[in-house]
Amino acid sequence: MTMKSVLAGATLALGLSTGAFAQDTTKVGFIYVGPVGDGGWSYEHNQGRLALEEHFGDAVETVFVESVPEGADAERVLTQMALQGADLIFTTSFGYMDPTLNVAAKFPDVKFEHATGFKRADNLSTYSARFYEGRAVQGHIAGQMTESNIVGYIGSFPIPEVIRGINSAYIHAKAVNPDVEFKVVWAYTWFDPAKEAEAATVLIEQGADVILQHTDSTAPQAAAQAAGNVITFGQASDMAAFAPLPRVSSIIDNWSPYYIARTQAVIDGTWTSTDTWDGIGPGMVKIGEISDAVPADVKASAEALRDAIASGEYHPFTGPLNKQDGSVWLADGETADDGTLAGMNFYVEGLSGVIPQ
């Protein structure tokens, strides 16, 4: 091969590669806190990613890294993704907040989207779903279904999102059953099937016959099934494999429309830093089918509650509501503002126990 043909080949290759750049596939990155096979939180984010690929076809290329620890590792993974030419990166766990902020500062041309956080920048949006709306429906069902009047709640970390869920579920369980009592166990993990199963078993042994979970695996569902006479709700994903019992309903995270809209905005060049917090109404939170194990009247009133929240005529945090120490939080008819909800760090009146600090 002569030098000339080598050069010609190199020029051709260069021409081809610039051609590929001109065609410009948009590269979208995702990092997940658990494995995509967790059957819950990360699974649903990955479903959103797959929907993105299906919607845009060849115009969009997606990459993802799963089971990324929250902290320094996340920063490395994000930097790597940005260096590899990602145009838009979704970071899908609360603990990625500061790593995302740091990496976003280093790559001003890359757009970042952080789920469930509250720190924003010019190239960093936040988005979250109003899961507490779904928790209200769960509490409503749980309060009426419990016979022991003890509801077990597996918390992950004591952060506002989880505390909101506990409060919302409790308020609506209490509204239909004044004798209801919540037992909260903090697992300090988003994903550890053995620990989640143990937490569920402990709660059941202490008399709970309803288990609500804010952790990502289906292990508590299996534990409830093994114990019998215990009902559960799917978390993040439908977990329909456990229907009709123990899983009687679920909260489903539906990220696809948001991911498609934001990717479209990047393609169109209209992307701006925003703060999105959508609930049942816009479809970001879905209530999984309420199974036949729930009595018809309870099911009907739960669906009515769901529809009232969706239409905006009812807010799950409507006064009169007091804080745990008895001080007034919301006056009669007053509804909570998003600022308070986003930073919620207190239990409402009636809940026992202390939030770990």
């Binding site: 096979g37 909260v184 166990v185 199963a197 292990a219």
Partner: protein, 304 residues
Amino acid sequence: MDLSSINPVLLFASLMVAATPILLAAIGELAVERAGVLNLGVEGMMITGAVCGFIVAVNTGSPWLGFVGAAVGGAMLALLFGLLTQVLLSNQVATGLALTLFGLGLSALMGQGYIGIKAPGFPDWHIPLLGDIPVIGPIVFQHDPMVYMGLALVGAVWAFLKYSRTGLILRAVGENHEAAHALGYHVIRVRVLAIMFGGACAGLGGAYLSLVRVPQWTEGMTAGAGWIALAIVVFASWKPARLLLGAYLFGGVTVLQLNLQAAGLAIPVEYLSMSPYLATIAVLVIMRAGRAPGSLGQSFHASR
């Protein structure tokens, strides 16, 4: 706070179940380390056992065959470690760490089609007569067979190491492999067999999680249990009886701290969460750590 809601009988019963996966993995690693090999790949072998056991159990419908499959899967992965470290003389620490990473990836790959599927049931043994004894019956005699299997294995390893000639050879290989070699014992063969036994035990421990404790397959489901098993071997100073104590202590405090939380005890949760590790380390250190096997972690080659 309402401590009366904690039922001590159920607490002790849960303790035995919670400790079983760690116990199984740890007793295997104990035998491996007594033979002078440090295999840090316990986590990888556990998770491989978990997925192999799950796949076999789902396809055959028999949890027993699942446990056999788990033991074989764990032993195969361990055999890979054995080939690398004993025949090719690679560094045991590095190879063990690599084995964990490899096992996590391999299991995720193998488990692709098995997410969200339920394992066939593995009923508890309600041992007649003994299971009906008040208090002790529910604590000790109403578990699934693997709990007793774990206990039997600890007893068997203890007796094997203490009383059998083969056990003596294994210990000799672990204490001073050159002397054992000079006496005509086949150091590599003994070690590879021990490594495979360790892998099989770790596989059983993993399968206990995927078939009994959780029971389903999720990626990364061992979540560090293998590392705890490794630590317990060291803190138990390579003695089977102390290993049993360590595993039960760890399992016990794990279950107890969740119970205390649910009962609303006003101790910060962070302290409760770290208590299993603290309690296990404290007790086993107070009992005075013994000496590690003399040749632990060293490669052997007959030419040296």
